[in-house]
Amino acid sequence: MAGSTSLIARKSIRARLGRTIAIVFAVVAGVSFVSGSFVLADSLTQSFDGLIEDLVQDVDLQVRGTNAFEGDSFGGSEAPPIPITLTDELATIDGIAVIEPDLTANAQILNDEGDPIVVTGPMFGTQYQPDTLSGIELKSGVTPAGPDQLVLDKATADREGIALGDEVSYSTDTGIYTGEMVGTVGTPDSDSLLGASIVALDLQTALDHFGAEGLVDQINIGLAGGADIDVVQADVSAAIGDQYEIVDREFLIKEFQDQIGEFIGFFQTGLLIFAFITAFVAAFIINNVFQITIGQRLRELALLRAIGASGKQVRRMITIEAFGIGVAGTIIGIVAGIGVAQLIVAAFNAIGAGFPSPGIVMKPRTILICAVVGIGVTMLSVIVPSRRAARIPPVAAMRPEIGFAAIRSRRLVVGTVMTVVGVVGLLVGLFVSPGGTFGLIVLAGGGALLLFLGVASVSATVATPVTRVIGWPIAKLFKTPGKLARDNVARAPRRTSSSAAALMIGVALVSAAAVFASSLRETLSATLESSVTSDYIVTSSGGGGGGPGASGFPPAVVESLAALPEIDAATPFRTLDASVDGDPKSLIAVDPQAASRLVDFGNVDGDFADLTVDSLAVQEEAAQTAGLAFGDTVPVTFQSGETRDLRIDFVFADSALGSNWFVGLDLFDEVSTDRPSDQFAFAALADGVDPEVGDEAVRAIAEEFPQVSIQSNAEFLQDQEDQINQLLFIIAILLFFAIVIAVIGISITLALGVFERTREIGLLRAVGMNRRQVRRSVRWEAVIVSVFGALIGVVLGTFLGVVLSSAVPDNVISELAFSPGIIVLILVGAVFAGLAAALYPMIKASNMNVLEAISTE
């Protein structure tokens, strides 16, 4: 009867409260992360949407440049600037109340030493006028007027301790300026604009200081009361011709929202990946705990069978029990997700992401997905244990050994099959990718999942020998308790491997990321070694990310470098959107002569120096893919809409530095619609110049242009390495939940093991083992289990890392590298994880009453 089985299930949950709480926690941890990811994304979307509406609420129409096609670079191409003279032409149109040319550009606030202030958001400059249509409003002081005044965003001013009336220096593409801060600005709800640091000047000063050369990004229009927007839009449209476009507020909001949505989508996907990993790890723990407790409840279950319960009813009982736990964990998890969301925002804001504080948006979709994940994971986890429970014969009530035979499994065969299928899926997914991205995700993701499950069960076969080796020093060092710890781990290899499995997964992912990161670093280093023959690398300094219009540095930097007598050659790397024979590509423009001297990509045909204004350089394989060969001519369209026939005058071998397509700077100058802005640059010392003298000269340039940093190859590499390590750190933090669950899993398993061995522990105590020795024994048992999990994880993770690194294109990773330091760190961490996991079972074991323990059956 369903009634009786659910009654027994309810009683069972209540009777084993500690264990139930532990499983509920595992479910909560998984679900709260999933819930938190959705709540965060939904809440951020809502606050950004609100912010966007604030920013454009007064803009009725906007005039801006158009691109000929959607570029290949991330986030699409920026619209080209338009002449400010258009403003005067449009101002005469009836129905326009306010017309405001708007522009943003590189601008960095400098500290007293003349270095850019340290910020984590983007830094840029813009114009600000009294009747501005932008949603930015004055927080204090007045609007800037004239070349000697400026306003800053209030958040930056407060953080840097700048008061009204203070002199502030800032650098732009045209030089370094100083002005008096006469006010502060912010959005209606915040003291900053998404964490950006802003310098705002009056329009004319902005045009002058930013080097706008009469060009602005867009012209915003505010209508007079009673004006018909359609009429005005038609009039403006007629006035500007088809070189420019006019869009309305709804279009702008939609466009902004799509851009933000894309970013939040990436962010959410990243979080969800880690949320599902956490849920997956939780499933392991739930499965393991049910598996063990069914062994422990063997007699009880057999007794139920003996008094007339069917196998089906036993199974149903276990299932109902799991369902109850799953529902409880899911409900708590959904609510806890709100806290997780706040925590993630706090964490990201701590490193300066500048997220608005999110309201709480709990959509029905979130609740539904959490329920599916939480209850689903719990139910899936008990399928096998409940089936096994149903196989327990009634006679096991009297003779438990028969029952144990019935619940034994054929894990090795199943495990091996899963491992093999997993590896094949992973490899096919990554290297063949049938069905594009979707196929890659399904095959590689599913393969990795199967691989984890398979390895978790196959690892039982190596558990005994491996843990003996791990336990050897412990047995040597801690004598009898150490030896007992080692023997206890080895006596139940299946349990050892499944309780270690959860930790294995976390460690495997960290190790895979570590291999990936090391290989990335190694590739970068090898590329710099073999492909770059320059002495200096110039990159944008400070200001993470780069805001709107705030990417790169002005051509003047390279020009100044090239002009130095100590410098032999210097070339910028400047991106140029183009459509090669209808295919959008990101071309890179270089100085051909200098590039020929500064980089070595392995010439196949021709040389960088051969590039003329009609030339295109391409990497060997990229040329093959595009069906092009040396000497071919191909039509290339630029954002201006102009199409030119370019001849392939240079084919090179190494797919290095992120691009396969190059042109000369002369061509850039002729076809680009954008202000020239360099992403990075190389420079080499002239022969015979003492490097110290060269460094001195280069440093002077760096001081003149605070927006760049000029580094030696080694310094640059160190910088990149730091960034890679930071990424690894973030990954480790996101896996923290999974690792905490894994530790709790080891703790529960061990506590259950201690409970099973009550009689044995009692005996040990009776013949003279003291409490400290009991604790020591349990403690090192936990450490051996967790180190075992970590070891398997490192091996599996290293394999995954190698596979992943091999799967990404060679221009990203071409060298494999491992970092022994991280492996050592992981293993030391595993020892501490074991010590943490031991706390509860250790106390439980040492607090046992000796007499009661030895009297236990």
Partner: protein
């Protein structure tokens, strides 16, 4: 009565106690009382038991189920604490010891043989025998241990694990463990309760030899008159009190006495 004796450092009236001239007590209890529960549910498992166990003797404690014989053994061995009164091993009062000292006492001065589950399954026979010494970090007396192992006839089973040994062999390992550290006294709780009569007889015979040949002191709780007949002295316990004793008894005498108690 021989059941009254002299505790090592007499707490009260020393002159009133008499011990056998050639023996000293290896362990004993003075007015030992153990009460479980309170009010109506109160059960006096031990009710003023005073008893001593002579060194070098094999003593059996007999009594029906619930008579308090096991509680007495547990309190004598320091596994359970008295409500009032005292128990001692050699010259040590157990009540004065904290958990650490009690553990130390059990490891060095007391040996145990239980009815079943006497051995740690992960350790070999030899390791099980050496366990108390290993826990204390001392080597033990190798020659003596070798003698013990030879005597119990386990030489060729030393490297087997308990699961590979028969029930009788397992109990022999347990007895060997109890003997190996030369404790002041061995407490055996129904050591043959799980064995067939032939195997049980072997174990009992071996325990008697340990007393006769090595001068070991053994106190054994049993409800089996045949097992008790191996002892030098049988003490009867009923309703938490000592109810007489027999010296060098036969199984028949014991059985007769038990029937009396039962009535």
């Amino acid at each position: 009565m021989n059941t009254e004796f002299a505790p090592p450092t007499p707490p009260a009236d020393a002159s009133a106690s008499v011990a056998g001239p050639s023996t000293t007590a290896a362990a004993g209890a003075v007015d030992a009382t153990k009460v479980y529960g309170i009010g109506d549910a109160e059960v006096r498992a031990l009710d003023g038991v005073t008893v001593s166990f002579e060194t070098g003797k094999f003593t059996a404690i007999m009594g029906p189920s619930g008579s308090g014989k096991s509680t007495l053994l547990h309190c004598l061995a320091g596994l359970d604490a008295l409500t009032s009164g005292a128990t001692f091993v050699g010259d040590t009062y157990l009540a004065s010891l904290d958990d650490k000292a009690l553990t130390e006492l059990r490891r060095t001065r007391v040996g145990f043989v239980f009815q079943a589950y006497n051995l740690i399954p992960t350790l070999t026979a030899e390791e099980n025998i050496l366990l108390p010494m290993m826990l204390g970090g001392d080597e033990g007396d190798a020659e003596w241990i070798d003698t013990v192992i030879t005597t119990v006839g386990l030489k060729d089973r030393l490297h087997h694990r308990p699961s590979e040994l028969s029930g009788g062999q397992q109990q022999r390992v347990a007895v060997a463990r109890a003997l190996a550290s030369r404790p002041q006294i061995i407490f055996a709780d129904e050591p043959t309760g799980n064995l067939d009569s032939t195997t049980g007889a072997e174990i009992l015979d071996f325990m008697r030899r340990a007393v006769k040949e090595f001068g070991q002191t053994i106190v054994m709780v049993t409800h089996d008159p045949v097992a008790a007949s191996y002892a030098d002295r049988v003490i009867f316990v009923a309703d938490g009190q000592i109810d007489g004793e027999l010296l060098d008894p036969t199984a028949e005498q014991i059985l007769e006495r038990m029937i009396q108690i039962g009535n």
